[in-house]
């Protein structure tokens, strides 16, 4: 800890207002998503607590029937939007982080194998990556999502929607991890500490995971941060298109889709606030990722 506080990295962080603000926003959002149960004034998914009379209450105004007022207004069901956004943030962040985790594990492993083993296995993995790169990742995610839903029995679809969403976004984002890790693995495996490890008879997996992996993880963290922003946006896009998170477990994208139905009848707040939240989240994750990339890249120092 002491070493971290004295590092160049931490110094650069304290000198960059952009990095500090974006990290602050991300941390605040993560905390409010995690503690949504305690922060949210109402539980938006408990039908018993909803009052249809509260529907379409504008922000900060008293409802004309019940006299109740809501910080960010309500939607057509009388759901408090502030609470719905907190819970939606939770779904969006959960899907984003899990999808990036999946993409990272998959991409790092495939990249390590491709770079270390080489030969036809390397060709196979990297050509697969090239093919996937030629399609927009949202298209891949939709394809995987559609196939997975087609394979699932109908009664499981709602329950498994989040899992399928994570799988489809995760599988569509592994390529960048694999490419970067493969490149650094090919550099590392020529170094003599790997030869020393081979001399004492360690097998390929031990060398890859214990020796090479810790030395190629630096750029992976940067890619993970940037990919997190992409994954959150991909999730929102899928949900907006109606193929992502179900209405029973709305993410920010689902909320935006619901809000879109009422935009032209004057209830602007149902769309605007979830959209602003998504914007702030994706923007700050992205800005922090960019800063991380610039700071950790020795060539840009």
């Amino acid at each position: 800890m002491q070493r971290f506080l004295q590092s160049d990295f931490f110094y650069a962080f304290t000198r960059s207002p952009l990095a500090m603000v974006s990290l602050l926003v991300v941390v605040l959002m993560v905390l409010s998503a995690v503690f949504a149960n305690f922060i949210a004034p109402t539980n938006p998914f408990d039908p018993a607590s909803l009052n249809l009379m509260n529907g379409f209450t504008p922000p900060m105004e008293a409802n004309m029937f019940t006299g109740e007022s809501f910080l960010l207004g309500t939607d057509d069901q009388g759901r408090d939007l502030f609470s719905a956004i907190l819970f939606g943030l939770r779904v969006s962040l959960f899907v984003g982080i899990m999808a990036v985790g999946l993409a990272m594990v998959l991409g790092v492993l495939l990249g390590l194998i491709a770079g270390y083993v080489g030969g036809w296995l390397d060709t196979l993995i990297m050509r697969l990556a090239d093919i996937q790169m030629t399609f927009p990742s949202i298209l891949i995610a939709m394809l995987i999502f559609g196939v997975a839903r087609g394979l699932l029995p109908p009664e499981l679809r709602e329950e498994m929607a989040i899992t399928v969403l994570i799988l489809s976004i995760g599988l569509s984002e592994w390529v960048n991890f694999a490419r970067t890790v493969r490149g650094s693995t090919m550099v590392e495996k020529e170094k003599e500490y790997v030869a020393a490890a081979r001399l004492i008879g360690l097998n390929r997996w031990q060398i890859m995971l214990r020796h090479i992996l810790p030395n190629v993880l630096g750029p992976v963290l940067v890619i993970a941060t940037i990919t997190l922003a992409l994954a959150i946006i991909a999730e929102a896009t899928l949900s907006f298109l109606g193929v992502g998170a179900p209405r029973t477990e709305p993410s920010l994208g689902t909320l935006i889709r619901i809000g879109q139905d009422f935009l032209f009848s004057g209830e602007w707040w149902i769309l605007l606030f979830p959209a602003l939240t998504l914007l702030a989240l994706a923007l700050s994750v992205n800005l922090f990722g960019d800063w991380l990339r610039d700071t950790l890249n020795p060539r840009l120092r």
Binding site: E192, G201, N215
Partner: protein, 272 residues
């Protein structure tokens, strides 16, 4: 029989283009004969040096002797055991590997930058099941560090906290951790400055005396060779052109290539 014997050692590298490119351009395979029928033998407890300029195949031979590269033809035997014996069981392979270790050229790339020195030294003990229990391993690591002239508190530091010469000492300690009988030194001092070179060479000499080690020295530096080696082999383009004991080679070199190497070594001249 000698302790280390290389017999008709050959290694070719395939530098050809991929198959499809070769067929399209109708070019033949390009093969590089890096090592061509090299024979030498090393007696137990002595130092054998292979000298030659860059690209002469010295490092290829070193890599074959430790088993990092397979010979294309020929064989290497250590204490009567054939290194390339495919029928050997894995425990037997491990037992043979333990007896041959290597000290590498680059003090910067030869230690994993993410590992503490103590962990680097304990790994061979674990891999060869030499010492069980982490407490005993720690103690052994501290002992090794003192043997190579570092202090036992260095075990908890990372490689980047050391100078080039100190790292080379850690590299030597790692090789010693396996309790080897043969150590292959692949240009162990060529990345160090002259005063540190002498220290590292003296360390290697005293370790040889203490543990009865056998060295195979790979180098291009004739000054290093003259102080370390009992016997010298001169390599030129993968062929062993001359082999003599150290005194004989410097006083009466037989081959023109050897004479050229000796005369082109920089000498310090006074007075003129």
């Amino acid at each position: 029989m000698s302790f280390v014997v290389a017999k008709d050692l050959c290694r070719t590298f395939d530098l050809s283009d991929p198959w499809i490119v070769r067929k399209l351009t109708m070019r033949p395979k390009r093969l590089l004969q890096a090592v061509d029928r090299v024979n030498f033998s090393i007696e137990r407890g002595t130092t054998y040096a292979l000298v030659g300029e860059s690209g002469s195949g010295k490092s290829t031979i070193a890599n074959m002797v430790v088993g990092l590269l397979k010979p294309s033809a020929g064989s290497i035997t250590i204490d009567g055991q054939n290194l390339g014996d495919a029928s050997m069981s894995r425990p037997d392979q491990q037992r043979l590997r333990r007896r041959i270790q290597m000290v590498f050229q680059s003090p910067y790339a030869s230690l994993n930058p993410r590992w503490k020195v103590g962990d680097i030294l304990c790994e061979p003990m674990r891999a060869f099941k030499l010492i069980e229990g982490s407490e005993a391993q720690r103690r052994r690591a501290a002992e090794l560090l003192e043997q190579v002239g570092l202090s036992d508190s260095d075990a908890s530091k990372y490689p980047h906290e050391f100078s080039g010469g100190q790292r080379q000492r850690i590299s030597i300690a790692r090789a010693l951790a396996s309790q080897p009988e043969v150590i292959i030194c692949d240009e162990p001092t060529s990345a160090l400055d002259v005063s540190v070179q002498a220290q590292v060479l003296n360390l290697l000499k005293s370790l040889q005396k203490e543990f009865g080690l056998t060295y195979l020295f790979i180098t291009h530096d004739l000054a290093v060779v003259s102080t370390m080696a009992n016997k010298i082999g001169v390599l030129n383009q993968g062929v062993l052109v001359e082999e003599q004991d150290t005194e004989g080679l410097f006083s009466t070199p037989r081959e023109d290539y050897t004479k050229m190497l000796i005369s082109s070594a920089p000498k310090i001249e006074f007075g003129s």
